[in-house]
């Protein structure tokens, strides 16, 4: 079933089931023993590496003028001027709108298409299933530039260049395989017995999918939606190649081209403020949906 489970059973023949029941007391034992001071140093180092850059980004966003260029460890006169400048910039507000539209539409379309395909791939008998899965997964490794270059030419011909639709379509190239991949591994985890009983009652495979699997797959669908949303929100290469005006640019591109409020200004203050603003929702998402994100990231990897 899985790469890693396989390894476990072959490596520990003494415990054929690898029974989780016998593992937990062991865990508790380890927990009772206090961590070695050296291990604490590592824990603190890892936390510092993760958090200090965030601190510095926020710190930079709260400074202006001399206080900014001196690089004060703590802002002596913290100011929200950079944030005001960002919110007064029509370019940034347009970019926010664009990003939301692009991410919501792309995620929805990808999820609808992917849930059908993933069910068939996870459950139904199918010819050339291994080949189809391999093809789908290989698309996730395509360099986006190989899609962006031809799209740039095609879109200029047919007028989709610098439009939201012109961004949504190529973004599906990568959203769809990601969604299929993640959903397939979630569908595989749903116990088969439930569908079997639906089949006994005379359901067709499609009815079993709609009435039995989909309702049970809601957590998996939510997880997949979060992962696809984050990846679409984050995507940069297609966005920068296929847009040129604020009307179509999503947030990452707008920030990359943000040039500050005036030419005398050190633009890094405003850019940092914009970065903080778009990071806050993602941080909240991680805090609230941490378990989901982790299970989605590792679902395909471990429970093939």
């Amino acid at each position: 079933m899985s790469t890693l489970t396989t390894q476990r059973t072959t490596a520990a023949p003494a415990a054929p089931g690898g029974s989780p029941k016998r593992r937990s007391p062991r865990r508790r034992l380890r927990g009772e023993a206090k961590l070695h001071p050296v291990v604490w140093v590592f824990v603190i180092a890892v936390m510092g590496f993760s958090l200090i850059p965030f601190y510095w980004l926020v710190n930079t966003s709260l400074k202006k003028g001399v206080s900014l260029s001196k690089g004060e460890l703590f802002p002596s006169q913290p100011t929200f001027e950079n944030y005001l400048a960002v919110f007064q910039s029509p370019e940034f507000l347009l970019a926010l709108r664009n990003s939301v539209i692009i991410a919501v539409v792309t995620t929805t379309v990808a999820l609808v298409f992917a849930s059908f395909a993933a069910y068939a791939l996870a459950r139904l008998k199918m010819r050339r299933k291994a080949l189809i899965l391999t093809l789908i997964l290989s698309v996730t490794t395509f360099p986006a530039i190989a899609i962006a270059a031809p799209m740039f030419s095609i879109w200029r011909e047919i007028g989709l260049y610098d439009t939201l639709l012109g961004l949504i379509i190529p973004k599906l190239t990568f959203a769809l395989p990601l969604a299929i991949y993640t959903l397939t591994s979630f569908f595989k985890e749903i116990p088969r017995e439930l569908e079997e009983s639906a089949y006994m009652d005379g359901a067709t495979p499609f009815m079993a999918f709609r009435k039995v699997i989909l309702p049970l797959a809601v957590p998996g669908l939510a997880t997949t939606a979060i992962l696809v949303f984050i990846s679409v929100w984050n995507e940069f290469l297609l966005a920068v190649t296929l847009t040129t005006s604020p009307e179509a640019r999503p947030v990452p591109v707008a920030i990359a081209f943000f040039s500050g409020t005036s030419e005398f200004d050190q633009p890094l203050g405003t850019i940092s403020a914009a970065s903080v603003i778009i990071t806050i929702p993602l941080v909240i998402l991680v805090l609230v949906c941490q378990k989901r994100i982790v299970s989605g990231m590792t679902a395909g990897a471990v429970k093939g």
Binding site: L4, A12, V46, K129, T141, P143, P150, F206, S275, V286
Partner: protein, 320 residues
């Protein structure tokens, strides 16, 4: 990735006996399966296969936006230009340098993080949340964050270094090749190590405690247990993380774009293709470069699958 596709779907073996006689149901099921997959496959053909095919065609033509849509078939000329000039090979070298550095750092740090997250201690949940935060950051923001860390005068690292009188304090980090590459690698390591760590942690959690108990009885030290038990058992998870991360690193674009715009010898393969296409308006050569990038990444993934091939065959055998 392809690792996953080879084992047959779970039900096929268990249900095969019952349904072998019922050919009609099999056929109906295959038909439904085809219909459910077809929309996605058609859509993917449209948004993935067609563009790449068209890029191939564009790369065989000389086409300039300046000449108002006039194109001329030139065969492999664009490829010859690209492969015989210095730019492609410089970008190729820099991309692999970046991928080699960042992926090895991510695997080492990721393994260390995974080991910490696997310990049961007060604060483990907090550590997991904190570690996961950079992963949620948009790559462009990760680049900006590290720009603020290393900017002359206003950066944290540059300030600390110059206060301590250490070298690097008065360096314009993004203005010199080695230093700029270091910042780009750091920005990538910061954002994506959590991903490697979580994959490796998942691998760690299925190693049974009994294995360690047996080793302890045999008098193995913790370090011996790590080298002789943990690492070999973690190999599949580490290989998997390495595959995902390498494929991603070879496509690097956002970080050098924001941090250096490709200056000081930090241009990646994707960036070079972008520059020719968008800034120099050389559609033919830009397409040839994007096809070369595509082929390079695909070649590396084939090598990886070959390399992990032994694992795949073992798994397939166990499944049967």
């Amino acid at each position: 990735m392809a690792l996953k596709s080879l084992p047959p779907a779970r039900g096929e073996s268990s249900r095969g006996v019952n349904s072998r006689g019922v050919n009609g149901r099999d056929r109906a099921e295959r038909r439904v399966a085809f219909r459910m997959t077809a929309p996605s496959l058609v859509l993917m053909a449209l948004v993935a296969a067609v563009p790449i095919g068209y890029a191939l065609w564009l790369s065989l033509n000389q086409y300039s936006v300046r000449t108002a849509g006039l194109s001329r078939f030139v065969g492999l000329e664009n490829y010859i230009t690209a492969l015989s000039g210095p730019h492609w090979w410089a970008a190729f070298g820099q991309t692999f340098l970046f991928a080699g550095l960042s992926v090895s750092l991510e695997l080492v740090l990721g393994t260390a993080m995974a080991l910490l997250l696997n310990l049961a201690f007060k604060g483990r949940a907090l550590l997991r949340t904190v570690v996961l935060l950079p992963y949620a950051v948009v790559t462009v923001v990760s680049a900006i964050t590290w720009e603020t860390m290393f900017a002359p005068n206003l950066g944290l690292v540059t300030n600390v270094l110059s206060t301590l009188g250490l070298p690097g304090g008065d360096v314009v980090w993004l203005g010199e090749h080695g230093y700029a590459m270091a910042v780009i690698v750091l920005a990538d390591v910061w954002k994506t190590t959590p991903f490697a760590a979580l994959i490796i942690l998942a691998g760690l959690q299925v190693i049974s405690a009994e294995t360690y108990e047996a080793a302890e009885l045999d008098g193995a030290s913790k370090w011996q247990a790590f080298v002789n038990i943990t690492l070999p058992l973690l190999r599949p998870a580490i290989v998997l993380a390495a595959i995902f991360r390498t494929m991603d690193a070879l496509r690097v674009f956002d970080l050098p774009f924001v941090l250096t715009r490709g200056a000081n010898g930090t241009e990646s393969m994707s960036m070079l293709a972008y520059t020719q296409l968008r800034e120099n308006r050389l559609v033919g050569e830009g397409s040839a470069l994007s096809i070369l990038t595509f082929l390079t990444v695909m070649a590396v993934s084939v090598v990886y699958i070959r390399f992990a091939g032994g694992n795949i065959r073992d798994i397939a055998k166990e499944e049967q």
